[in-house]
Symmetry: C2
Subunit: 155 residues, 2 copies
DNA sequence: CTTGACATTACAGCCAGATGGAAGGTGTAC
DNA sequence: GTACACCTTCCATCTGGCTGTAATGTCAAG
């Protein structure tokens, strides 16, 4: 399949695919006689995996090291297993914060809805975030080593 | 409290705080006679909220619009409530993907551990991602409008 | 009265992760 | 045979969110 089809099936742009190839995240595909990239089914899988892994906070570089486990000897294997285990750990903590903050956002929304719309023009009443809203959340949450993909990356 | 104390209490850098002020995410604080920024307790709350909201995938601009609900009239209120509701929705879907992908990463790790280390040098065996690993995951997951903060933002 | 940690501003630079555009080749449908 | 979508490479640019640097000011402790 050509790059355009792969792109639409995997839900990314063609630019992105070429970029991934350039940084070694996906292997160079076969080429048709006219020079067009020619992908197989597996490529769709791989791109989807990349998207999901990215969503968990793995960087493209980390994903590359996971995808490229073969042919690098024990050391790399252990390194990657370690990376994965630490990441899963961080991810679990992140999920916890996420759940808590989600609930906080719900509270915030309820509150915003509960306000009399007329009060919205009153600078003293329609302030959605107030002291106390965060009580019990974010205390001691250390999720620092975990990070998420760059800006235009949508979940 | 001075910027340094606020920074360490909220778990961010002083640069970050000044940057937030610059983009209007936090209000300009009082100044001491010598020109130093002077913050109150509420500022710590606010910064923590920002961190958590950011972790759920809200951009700083979106957070700003939530934080700045007052004094903008009904329209803005409804707009923000809408933003929040859609975001919570997206977040729920994202959490689902995240949980699934987490499990997938666990599987991947188990698999990597199960491989005989000697095979790691064999390009044909130690390929951690293979067709099939993603089966049942990422199908139809559309979390597109949700996005996460820029690159150095750690969870 | 100097050292050292802190603060100030202004502005440049960095990073991941794309994204855009120019200039040109390909291929199929009408 | 020409429109039109789609492909190619190369290179520049954008975005979000910081982060660093320089040049300078403030202030408490020893």
């Amino acid at each position: 399949m050509k790059i355009g089809e792969l792109a639409s099936r995997a839900g990314v742009g063609t630019k992105t695919i070429r970029y991934y190839e350039e940084i070694g995240l996906i292997p160079e595909p076969e080429r048709t006689p006219n020079g067009y990239r020619d992908y197989d089914e597996f490529a769709v899988e791989r791109l989807r995996f990349i998207r999901d892994a990215q969503a968990t906070g793995l960087s493209l570089t980390e994903i590359a090291s996971i995808l490229d486990l073969r042919g690098h000897g024990e050391g790399t294997c252990f390194h990657v297993i370690d990376l994965l285990e630490r990441h899963i750990d961080d991810l679990d903590r992140h999920l916890e914060t996420l759940h808590k903050t989600r609930d906080q956002l719900v509270t915030l929304t309820e509150r915003a809805k509960g306000l009399d719309p007329e009060d919205c023009t009153d600078p003293n009443r329609c302030q959605t975030i107030t002291p106390g809203i965060n009580v019990g959340v974010s205390a001691g949450m250390k999720t620092d080593h975990l990070h998420v993909a760059g800006h235009p990356s949508r979940f």
